[in-house]
């Protein structure tokens, strides 16, 4: 295996043993996604028209860089616009390893020979790469040996690498297509470690739904930074895709003017749900509840209930659907059944079996701590939220949202900050 760091500053010899110059950088054809072929060597200290040499004329790269022809017969390379300069644009930059799902720094680049051609095969992001750059690879190996460990060089195949340089639209769009397939929580973790300019650029090209999922998992800083830089129309579209309680949390952190503007741009029914949620204090059950939950009329039997759930939009939007709530015509809570019990019951059994007057419930103004207490006490996955006057059921507090108080979100925050939000 050859590494870029071993090639930089190496002398380039022509077919007759004359030094042409030293390698300053290497170009690859960036349009090739899995293993881009080398297109040219960029030389320094070479005669004026010989500073770029076509990779076709390379005879070998290791142990010494030699060319097939005599210096006078070398044809200079003319860039075609798809080249990527490895040292200048890739080495030392941050990239996303979409396989390992993390943000890494390019410590070195691996180049391999296949037949007559050379290819860029992968990115070395390991500590070994660092030591190689420092000329300390041997030292590293002997240290590893004394600890009875093997110094591993981990090379990420180029096809799993997503570049995040925001001033390169072409490569960024390739990266986006790779990133979109990662789980939202992993993307969010990467965004938290990225600088604000790059994370914004990266998310611009995400489809609305994926962007919404990612933002739900992101820190408040990232949420605000990204949304404030989207076009308001698009920001509203993204908010519609989010869970209403998450959307409400985000809007609550914005200034009134901005949040009002976004709400007017949102679809009416989505906006209305969010507005209701915004009316409750952040630390109340109403503030943390979600308004999307699965319910069926209490007069149904099991078969009718299951059919109803399949076509009910609210049920489809219920993220977990631990329970199915039984409501009357006025949307008052009559009973509750776990999805498991419902599915395993005989189809003709009426739902009246699960009607119960004494269901653990909260009002929108019940403090979050109390909701958490009830969830823990009765071992529930979700708690219904009921309007005290009308007795209408308006939402559920899920176990993860309720427990956020007991396991404070603050410990997830990263850098110590004296200031700001």
């Amino acid at each position: 295996m050859i590494y870029l760091s071993q090639l930089i500053d190496q002398k380039v010899w022509d077919g007759f043993g004359h030094v042409v110059g030293k390698i300053d950088d290497i170009m690859v054809n960036a349009t090739e996604k899995s293993a881009p072929p080398l297109s040219a060597l960029v030389l320094k200290g070479a005669p004026e028209n010989k500073t770029m040499i076509d990779a076709q004329s390379i005879a070998s790269l290791w142990p010494s860089v030699t060319l097939k022809t005599d210096i006078t017969k070398l044809v200079p390379y003319t860039p075609k616009g798809h080249e990527l300069l490895l040292k200048q644009r890739v080495l030392d930059q941050q990239i996303v390893d979409t396989e390992g799902k993390r943000l890494v720094r390019v410590n070195d680049l691996q180049i391999a020979r296949k037949g007559e051609q050379f290819f860029l095969t992968g990115v070395d992001a390991s500590a070994n790469g660092l030591l190689r750059r420092l000329g300390l690879e041997k030292v590293g190996k002997s240290i590893a040996r004394t600890f009875k460990k093997e110094a591993k060089t981990h090379v990420i195949p180029w096809e799993f690498v997503a570049s995040i340089e925001h001033d390169d639209p072409l490569r960024l769009s390739v990266s986006q297509s790779r990133l979109v397939q990662m789980p939202p929580a992993d993307i969010a973790a990467i965004l938290d470690n990225l600088d604000s300019h790059t994370s914004k650029a990266l998310l611009q090209g995400f489809p609305n739904e994926e962007l919404a999922d990612t933002l739900e998992q992101s820190s408040q800083e990232v949420q605000q930074a990204v949304l404030s830089h989207l076009h308001p129309e698009r920001a509203a579209d993204v908010l519609e895709e989010m869970d209403p309680d998450e959307a409400a949390d985000i809007l609550a952190d914005m200034d009134d003017q901005t949040s009002e503007r976004l709400l007017t741009l949102m679809e009416d029914d989505d906006a209305e749900e969010v507005r209701t949620l915004l009316g409750y204090p952040e630390t109340s059950s109403g503030g943390i509840m979600t308004t999307e939950f699965a319910w069926v009329p209490y007069t149904y039997n099991v078969e009718q209930a299951l059919t109803h759930l399949r076509s009910s939009e609210e049920a489809l939007e219920d993220e977990f659907m631990y329970y199915v709530y039984l409501l009357d015509e006025q949307e008052r809570l009559k009973g509750v059944v776990s999805l498991r019990d419902l599915v395993t019951a005989p189809l003709d059994q009426p739902l009246s079996k699960w009607i119960d007057d004494d269901i653990a419930q909260v009002t929108p103004l019940t403090p979050q701590e109390e909701a958490a207490y009830l969830v823990a006490k009765y071992d529930l996955m979700a708690l219904p939220v009921v309007e005290p006057e009308s007795k209408k059921m308006i939402g559920i507090v899920t176990v993860d949202d309720a427990l956020d108080t007991v396991l404070p979100t603050a410990w997830k925050k990263k850098l110590p900050r004296f200031s700001g939000k």
């Binding site: 030392d92 410590n107 660092l130 938290d192 603050a410 410990w411 925050k413 850098l415 110590p416 700001g420």
Partner: protein, 417 residues
């Protein structure tokens, strides 16, 4: 069930004030940390008003350097370590990070020395106070909910104000002060040079540069608002140095005439006696303790972030130790080494605080040259590169520190000459 502790309303108003004021102002106020207070006290007591001109000079230098760091943060959205790695590669990064690490371990141990000095003022052994402080701050950071604690510490730091009040109680001769502040005097003695370097090193710090740039980059400041940021940074630097000047004036007016040299917290606290009488040691301790703990809560962590950023290690307190072993090792390493150093029996605490800051200054040119080069790079800064004026001053400052270092070394190795 966990009950949340609520601060009284008036106190929350003060907190609000602190969350609104910008990172520039706070970075600069935090410059008056334990080694800072120690360095100014020692210098003022030993050299009197004659030291004030250096503060004037340093103020210009700090404004210059902090403004560059802020501008880089605002333009690139990246940290200093990121930029150094991306522009200069592994070797230069490794060297710069080694300098940063050394300087910051020095400053961190100086904070623990501050804690030890305060403890010993009340007869409490440093073997008790230092590990306790380290454990307390370490746990608060690792648990991550230190926001309130930080504000409390900042308020404790306000007791640095007592120096300003003391000066107005003593009523010194402002004519002399002004004259001394504007007439440079230089002594070619190694103790004097060490003190000069320490005062530079405690004011313009490598970590101040990294920290300010990171916090501005994190805020994602819009370049349209850059004038606000600049104002905040300039105002903050000037403010921090005004406090420094008052510490020097106080010690110069109270201790210098009596020939009292500051070697311990007891002597340093005496400077406040015209204001607080027998309570001066309490007043001094509150400020010193707040400043030390505040710096300990920020410095090791921001150093760790910078290093992981430069070398691409997994980082962040939201990651478990198993996923980010290097991150946690560096952090714990800095804390433990700093604490152990202060626990070496018989080590002179105030001397160590001063020397750590001289080391900071000696290492500063490395970082300054890199920052100057980055701030002039069109590929990075676009149209926001340094103005010529800033470059001239920047290189002059670097040269000056370098010259002082050379003079110090010559003086140390050729005592007869």
């Amino acid at each position: 069930m966990k009950r949340q502790f609520k601060f009284p309303f008036w106190l929350r108003r003060i907190f609000l004030f602190f969350t609104i004021i910008g990172p520039g102002l706070i970075t600069a106020s935090a410059d008056n940390d334990a080694p800072g207070i120690a360095t100014y006290s020692i210098s003022g007591a030993k050299y009197g008003y004659g030291f004030l001109w250096i503060i004037v000079l340093i103020t210009v230098g700090e404004v210059l350097v902090q403004e560059m760091a802020a501008r880089m943060g605002a333009v690139t959205g990246k940290g200093t370590a990121d930029l150094i790695r991306e522009r200069f590669g592994v070797r230069t990064s490794a060297f710069a990070m080694a300098c940063l690490l050394l300087a910051n371990i020095g400053t961190t141990l100086a904070q623990f020395a501050g804690v030890a000095a305060v403890g010993e003022l009340f007869g409490i052994s440093r073997f008790l106070t230092v590990p306790l402080a380290g454990l307390l701050i370490g746990l608060i950071i690792l648990r991550g909910n230190y926001k309130n604690i930080e504000t409390v510490l900042l308020i404790l730091c306000l007791s640095a104000f007592s120096y300003v009040i003391t000066v107005f109680v003593i009523k010194p001769d402002w004519g002399i002060i002004l004259k001394e502040a504007l007439t440079p005097t230089i002594k070619l003695e190694s103790d004097y040079l060490l003190a000069v370097l320490a005062v530079i090193g405690t004011t313009i710090t490598p970590w101040g540069i990294f920290y300010l740039q990171a916090s501005i980059a994190d805020k994602g400041t819009d370049l349209k608002d850059y004038n606000h940021t600049r104002l905040d940074v300039v105002f903050g630097s000037v403010w921090g140095n005004i406090i420094s000047a008052f510490i020097i004036i106080t010690t110069a007016a109270t201790l210098y005439p009596k020939g009292i040299l500051v070697n311990s917290a007891e002597e340093a606290a005496m400077a406040l006696s015209p204001l607080a009488g027998s309570f001066s040691s309490i007043l001094f301790s509150v400020g010193m303790l707040g400043a030390s703990l505040l710096a300990v809560s920020v410095l090791p962590l921001s150093t760790t972030y910078a290093m992981c950023e430069a070398f691409g290690f997994e980082r962040g307190l939201n990651r478990p130790v198993k996923e980010a072993p290097v991150f946690y090792s560096i952090f714990v390493g800095i804390m433990v080494i700093s604490m152990l150093f202060v626990l070496i029996p018989g080590i002179p605490l105030f001397r160590i605080m001063l020397l750590s800051q001289s080391v900071n200054a000696i290492l500063l040119p490395v970082i300054l040259l890199l920052v100057l080069s980055l701030a002039n790079d069109r590929n990075i800064m676009g149209e926001w590169t340094n103005k010529r004026f800033a470059n001239v001053l920047g290189y002059a400052l670097t040269g000056l520190i370098f010259l002082a270092t050379i003079a110090l070394l010559v003086g140390m190795f050729l005592p007869a000459a």
